[in-house]
């Protein structure tokens, strides 16, 4: 059924139709609307689940761990500082092979505290052993949750569905809400491999020493390899069942003859594709590679998409998170994909990779900025690492101050004073 609906409400509707048995909630912007909507459904009796208001994100993931280990389908949602606060339990859920599904409403990490969208939170957990799927639209966020439960339970591995905070969670878009029986046909009930049962007691979470730890970790890697097959197959099954394409590993857009390919994740892909359409009309051969599955990183699919044409000269990676001291998290993975990780020679040996850090802490990534950046790329002026729309005069004033006086402490407040939006020093 087509509806004009807020992204969070669409996701809540999808999660409810997946019949979770235990939902744990702790408020953090911009994820709150999802669990609020689910809580209301439980309270009204529309959804037969246990809804726990817990005291922290660490508890939220811990409750999900207990519920999942006891054989229940478990769901939670978080963002930003909350994801970091639960991080220890995030790793633990993956290590225990529990098919928990969690929404991450992507938001920046402080300090300085910032409630707006970027990918710093989910990227920080990229090695936690969770599958990470990034939604481009509200519709895809909705669809990915239905696929996420299927993927998680097939692999015995938790899945994080990442959707851009505010841009997707709070925007009202048209979405096709599936019917309950469609979801039921697609997603069978959760049947755990091993669970806590007094009738068949097992010890779960035992201590493993050097004699077997490597083997356990190897199996985590094997699950991720298997995920590279399960994820596309879930997407294909979804397309058959629901009549629309969502999910999968990567989304190439006009990459076939491209001289420049922009790589990005999440909702910014819409703006990037619009910009590329405009530039193509002006004769520039630019393509886009959307990465839907970031963990496991689909090396071969990325190589395939980037290496189809020898005319490819430049790959521009839009980083929605900053990894200080490196040129970018996604960039590093793209370089890995371009290298001969599968034993074959690189497919696009001449293509140079540039990183563009963009949209940090909610700064809008506009078509105008993207056009200017891509014009620089075409003319060869784009450097290896660029911060899109950086206010250079603001940072150079602070850099000058830092050079003048050797002092420690935060710089954000100094810069705010420059901007004239904070009280000046009281003398």
């Amino acid at each position: 059924m087509l509806r004009q609906i807020e992204g969070s409400q669409a996701v809540a509707a999808a999660v409810a139709m997946c019949r979770p048995e235990v939902i744990c909630a702790y408020p953090i912007t911009p994820q709150t609307h999802i669990v609020e909507a689910l809580g209301a459904k439980v309270k009204k009796g529309e959804l037969n689940a246990e809804f726990l208001n817990v005291e922290s994100e660490f508890a939220a993931m811990s409750v999900a761990i207990g519920a999942s280990a006891a054989g229940a389908r478990a769901y939670t949602a978080t963002a930003s500082q909350g994801l970091l606060y639960m991080s220890e339990a995030v790793y633990n859920a993956a290590g225990l092979g529990l098919p928990i599904v969690m929404t991450v409403a992507n938001r920046a990490i402080g300090a300085p505290i910032n409630i707006w969208n970027d990918h710093s939170d989910a990227m920080s957990q990229r090695d936690a052993g969770w599958i990470q799927l990034y939604a481009e639209t509200s519709q895809e966020a909705l669809d990915l949750h239905i696929q996420a439960f299927k993927i998680a339970e097939e692999l015995a591995n938790p899945v994080m569905v990442c959707m851009d905070g505010f841009l997707l969670t709070h925007a009202s878009e048209r979405a096709d809400i599936p019917a309950q029986d469609q979801v039921d046909r697609f997603l069978p009930p959760y049947v755990p491999r091993q669970m806590l049962d007094p009738a068949d007691p097992v010890s779960i979470g035992a201590m493993v020493g050097p004699e077997a730890f490597t083997e356990v970790r190897y199996l985590a890697q094997a699950r991720m390899q298997q995920a590279l097959e399960v994820i596309p197959s879930a997407a294909a099954g979804f397309s058959m069942a629901f009549g629309r394409s969502s999910g999968g590993l990567v989304r190439p857009y006009l990459t076939g003859d491209a001289e420049i390919i922009v790589v990005a994740l999440g909702s910014v892909l819409g703006t990037v594709k619009d910009t590329v359409d405009e530039l193509r009309a002006e004769g520039m051969r630019i393509g886009v590679l959307g990465i839907t599955t970031f963990r496991p990183f689909p090396v071969l699919a990325v190589r395939e998409a980037l290496g189809t044409d020898s005319r490819l000269r430049r790959i521009v990676v839009l980083e929605r998170a900053l990894a200080p001291g490196t040129d970018g998290i996604v960039t590093a993975d793209i370089r890995m994909a371009l290298a001969a990780s599968d034993g074959r020679p690189p497919r696009a040996p001449d293509a140079l990779v540039s990183t563009v850090v963009a949209g940090l802490g909610g700064r809008a990534i506009t078509r105008k900025s993207l056009r200017a950046m891509l014009a620089d790329t075409v003319s060869g002026r784009l450097g290896p690492l660029t911060f899109l729309d950086l206010d250079t005069s603001l940072v150079s004033r602070e850099l000058d101050r830092m050079r003048a006086a050797r002092r420690s402490g935060p710089s954000a407040e100094n810069m705010l004073r420059d901007l004239g939006i904070t009280a000046s020093r009281v003398s």
């Binding site: 048995e21 235990v22 744990c24 037969n48 689940a49 246990e50 726990l52 208001n53 817990v54 005291e55 922290s56 660490f58 508890a59 811990s62 409750v63 999900a64 761990i65 207990g66 519920a67 999942s68 280990a69 006891a70 054989g71 229940a72 478990a74 220890e88 339990a89 633990n92 225990l96 806590l196 049962d197 007094p198 068949d200 007691p201 097992v202 010890s203 779960i204 979470g205 035992a206 201590m207 493993v208 020493g209 004699e211 077997a212």
Partner: protein, 351 residues
């Protein structure tokens, strides 16, 4: 369920829960049919109070729930010595997740059981004092205030023993630990710090809070079973001496626990809905020095010279407990200390 034959060694009338009593008065531990939740072969130290306390408590809960129990364990000695891969000493459904989250994981298990209509299966969370009073405090308090149907058991050996005897929020004043060394003018742990989690639990007004020690097996079994009479969040705090961390003789674990109660330093009581309903009276009161002298962690209080000022402060704390909980009052209401007959242990669920 895996079954391991239980061996008894008759060493006197106090052994194995006093099997010389008539069958209905015997403790769970004296029964050959007990579940033996934590079976032999684990790697706890000689004289480990925690291993003893855990087996007593969980066997009693298993009996009270007719074997329908799931245990959730915090990281710590109990988890490490019981499950060295690929072995396990647990003969119950058992889950270990992290150090600080056992109460929340237990809440999750209870929620799953509720969702599945299996509220007949009961959940026990357990951990040491570090995992409970310090790093697990937030999860514990959350579990309490939500009233999740979990019995949480803290095995209190008064320091982080698993990591090498560092101070916890349950370490008593003057005790030496690796991070409160016995040096300087105020050797050992500082006075006026630490927290009393049984009282904090009572402040949540949960249905049942109790303390116990491994010295009084019948009382411990009674309280573990009694806790299963209630639904909602319940808390059992068991004092379990640690020969390694306390510097006591492994053979003296029971004796040291008994001296802790008889000196008044560890009050044994139970509370319902936030109010104390019974306190176990001290039978033979002893000065705190009788207790302190059994442990090397207090050796600095006696050598090279007796530090009477510090010992007086410890004695004052014991005196305060005795007054506060009425531990020397005439034991009129001590009748309930009589071992619970089997019938009582069987009506698990519902108040």
């Amino acid at each position: 369920m895996p079954y391991q034959r239980i061996k008894f060694y008759q060493t006197g009338s106090f052994a194995a829960g006093n099997r010389l009593l008539s069958p209905e008065l015997r403790s769970v531990q004296s029964l050959a049919q007990r579940s033996n939740t934590l079976t032999c072969g684990h790697r706890a130290c000689q004289g480990c109070g925690e291993a003893l306390g855990a087996r007593y408590a969980l066997d009693a809960v298993m009996r009270a729930t007719k074997g329908k129990m799931i245990a959730v364990n915090a990281t710590g000695c109990l988890e490490v010595f019981s499950t060295p891969f690929p072995e396990t000493s647990w003969q119950v459904a058992w889950l270990h997740s992290l150090f600080g989250n056992a109460p929340a994981v237990a809440s999750g298990v209870a929620a799953a059981l509720r969702a599945k209509g299996r509220a007949d299966i009961r959940v026990v969370g357990q951990g040491g004092d570090g995992g409970t009073v310090d790093i697990g405090m937030a999860c514990l308090s959350g579990m309490f205030e939500r009233g999740d149907d979990v019995l949480y058991i803290c095995y209190d050996n008064q320091a982080y023993m698993n990591t090498g005897v560092q101070r916890s929020g349950a370490t008593p004043p003057a005790a030496r630990t690796a991070t409160t060394p016995a040096v300087g003018e105020e050797p050992g742990n500082t006075f006026g710090q630490g927290k009393n989690v049984p009282l904090i639990a009572m402040a949540h007004e949960i249905p049942y809070v109790a303390t116990a020690t491994v010295a009084d097996l019948r009382d411990l079994e009674y309280k573990a079973a009694r806790a299963m009479d209630f639904r909602g969040a319940r808390y059992l705090h068991i004092l379990v001496p640690c020969p390694l961390g306390w510097g006591s003789a492994p053979a003296d674990t029971i004796k040291v626990a008994r001296l802790a109660t008889e000196s008044g330093l560890f009050p044994v009581f139970e509370a319902e809905d936030g109010e104390v309903v019974s306190a176990t009276p001290i039978r033979h009161r002893v000065p705190v020095t009788d207790y302190l002298r059994t442990q090397a962690r207090y050796a600095h209080l006696f050598r090279p010279a007796e530090r009477t000022r510090i010992i007086a402060r410890v004695q004052a704390a014991a005196d305060r407990n005795i007054a506060r909980f009425g531990l020397l009052e005439s034991p009129d209401d001590s009748e309930r200390v009589v071992p619970a007959p089997p019938a009582r242990a069987h009506h698990a669920g519902g108040r």
